[in-house]
């Protein structure tokens, strides 16, 4: 792929995207997914191929084009501030892995480093 002269880095026509095992591990970390070595070996090359295939999007000249986040115009929707039927505590807790009293029981949230 030729490089376009004078373009900014994000617009470079350079579609080689190499995403390293370490980067995948970091991203999985951000996404709170534990990946073992075998999964990293399996996923990292696939992710590079996927990213390479979508990287062409950087070259579409669209600087002056407004972004679209949503197909139809989104407006804030309000309702009257009145009480309406909702789930009981029992219903809300019905799928919980662990319940204590009328609450979700969760593992400790503070780590050693905190």
């Amino acid at each position: 792929m030729p490089e376009t002269a004078g373009s900014t880095p994000s617009e470079r026509a350079d579609h080689r995207v190499e995403i390293s095992r370490d980067e995948v591990r970091h991203l999985a970390d951000l996404a709170r997914i534990e990946l073992d070595d075998a999964e990293l070996d399996h996923l990292a090359p696939q992710l590079s191929v996927i990213l390479e295939s979508v990287a062409s999007i950087r070259d579409v000249a669209a600087d002056d084009i407004p972004p679209t986040s949503h197909p139809l115009p989104v407006v804030n929707v309000f309702r009257e501030d009145v009480v309406r039927p909702s789930l009981t505590a029992e219903e809300a807790l019905s799928g919980a892995p662990l319940v204590e009293g009328q609450r979700f029981a969760v593992p400790r949230i503070l780590g050693d480093e905190q």
């Binding site: 997914i33 996927i50 990213l51 979508v54 679209t68 197909p71 139809l72």
Partner: protein, 512 residues
């Protein structure tokens, strides 16, 4: 000789009920029997609720006895994709992370089906969290295409499409984020429709990509799709993206279209969605369908939408970005799976989350979460997600220009017919290409339909015609879709989908 109940359309079953020829209990049983006979081979269902369906059928029969009808399809059973929340039935989204989860509330679509008196036969198989185009990414095993059990029914809604194609249900609900209703429709010879974004409530539809997801009907006839559409569509205060306008006259349009007269209708064939990369037999059946519409009076022009070239790339950035954010809710705290990490004495919530999400999510879900996390991370946001959103605008504008000239746009629904199970499973890019013709409608929020237009000469497998219309003009799809269906059935001398066209192995399991 009368046609067996399971082979009849929803509209015909409603007529049979009205004529007192059958009861809802009898026909619900007929479909449950069919499921018991063939679903071991098809695997369209993840959960069958015989008891619940029969109770709803009894209630429908009682209403009818009193002369009270809840809807045009009261008493006609339906299957529901496992991504729509249902009380009293598990909702797994095809994922281990939600194995056995029974939601405490119904999706609005489900609530409307129940209120309209449709017995729910069960929940249909899907790619995990609707991420896939073959239903092979389901954590509970793939669905098999009833036309050839060694092939995929498409995805993500392969379960709904296969169930309807195999006569296990007359009707089903699907959802479509990039083609998950339409592409399985094409691959199984069924009708599938994605309404205008916001046309059907997303409340209780487990989100993959909010700005793209839309529920819609999966049926064997265009008229059935319109009847179902009318029941589930319309404004819902529980979904802030739901359109607060009357539902387009879809049933009337389907009836008008069936007359086969398209005088004054302008259709555009999208240059970018056909030709190179499309299987010859698919292209051939598409071209023939277009000729038929022209013979029926439609005016046809070639239309170019140059930015569709970038649609796949934009989609595979926007969708995973939204998905990575949406799927953060599966955190092992409030519902779903909780896995304790091995060899950790007192694990933290974060460690439990990591272990759970590793064990609970499959490969494709992990791939998309990681791609989305990457595309949204600082330093890459502008180049990827931001740029994809701009391309979305360009695609919108292409469609806007096109719809100034024509009423509907046409293309093949899928570039190929049904492919073999396993063929594309470990090649994400090859899998993604299945949706090249369906994705643009999701990006632009347009309604789209797939209608069967025959089988190819080379493999004898079904081909779908995709019809796209401007936002809010869903009725255009029904007009043109019903016309294509009626004109083709005249040629064929009956419907394309019949039990003797399906995989012969299904006859053997039924006979057993």
């Amino acid at each position: 000789m009368s046609i067996p109940l399971i082979q009849r359309s929803g509209a015909d079953l409603a007529e049979a009920l009205a004529a007192g020829e059958t009861t809802s209990v009898e026909l619900t049983r007929a479909f449950l029997d069919r499921i018991a006979a063939v679903d071991g081979a098809v695997h369209g269902f993840l959960h069958v609720d015989a008891e619940g369906a029969l109770a709803a059928a009894r209630a429908a029969d009682e209403r009818r006895g009193k002369g009270e009808l809840a809807s045009s399809l009261d008493g006609v059973p339906i299957a529901v994709k496992d991504v729509l929340a249902t009380t009293g039935m598990p909702t797994t989204c095809g994922s281990r992370i939600l194995e056995g989860w029974v939601p405490p509330y119904d999706a609005t679509v489900v609530a409307r089906l129940r209120a309209a008196g449709l017995p729910i036969l069960g929940k249909t198989n899907m790619d995990e969290f609707a991420m896939g185009s073959s239903t092979e990414q389901s954590a509970y095993g793939p669905t098999h295409n009833p036309w050839d059990l060694d092939r995929s029914p498409g995805g993500s809604g392969g379960g709904s499409a296969a169930a309807v194609a195999a006569f296990e249900a007359p009707l089903a609900m699907g959802t479509d984020t990039g083609g998950s209703i339409r592409q399985p429709g094409a691959l199984t010879g069924t009708v599938g429709l994605k309404p205008t974004y916001g046309g059907i409530s997303r409340y209780g539809l487990v989100a993959m990509a909010n700005s793209l997801d839309q529920a819609g009907p999966v049926t064997r006839t265009v008229l059935d799709a319109s009847l179902l559409h009318e029941i589930v569509a319309g404004h819902d205060p529980l979904d802030s993206t739901s359109i607060d306008q009357p539902v387009p006259p879809v049933v009337q349009a389907a009836r008008d279209g069936a007359a086969g007269n398209l005088a004054g209708v302008k259709i555009g064939v999208v240059t970018e969605l056909g030709g190179e990369g499309y299987q010859p037999g698919v292209q051939q059946r598409f071209d023939q369908a277009v000729e038929l519409l022209v013979a029926a009076g439609a005016e046809v022009v070639q239309v170019t939408c140059p930015n569709l070239e970038h649609a796949l790339a934009a989609y595979y950035l926007i969708m995973p970005s939204e998905a990575s954010s949406n799927l953060a809710r599966f955190d092992a705290m409030r519902y779903g799976l909780r896995v304790m990490p091995e060899g950790v004495a007192s694990p933290s919530a974060e460690e439990v989350m990591r272990a759970t999400r590793d064990a609970g999510f499959g490969d494709e879900v992990k791939r998309r979460i990681i791609i989305g996390t990457y595309a949204l991370s600082s330093g890459y946001y502008d180049a990827y997600y931001g740029q994809a959103q701009k391309v979305r605008t360009l695609i919108d504008r292409d469609f806007e220009r096109a719809f100034k000239k024509v009423d509907v746009l046409l293309s093949p629904t899928s570039p190929t017919t049904a492919f073999k199970l396993g063929e594309k499973l470990d090649d994400p890019l090859a899998m993604y290409l299945n949706d090249i013709a369906t994705i643009p409608a999701n990006l632009a929020g347009l309604p789209g339909m797939s209608v069967p237009v025959g089988v190819t000469e080379e493999d004898g497998l079904p081909v779908g015609l995709q019809v796209l219309a401007p936002a809010l003009a869903d009725d255009h799809l029904y007009l043109v879709g019903a016309a294509a269906e009626a004109l083709l059935e005249q040629q064929w001398g009956g419907p394309m989908l019949e039990p003797d066209r399906l995989d012969k192995k299904l006859d053997k399991v039924v006979a057993r």
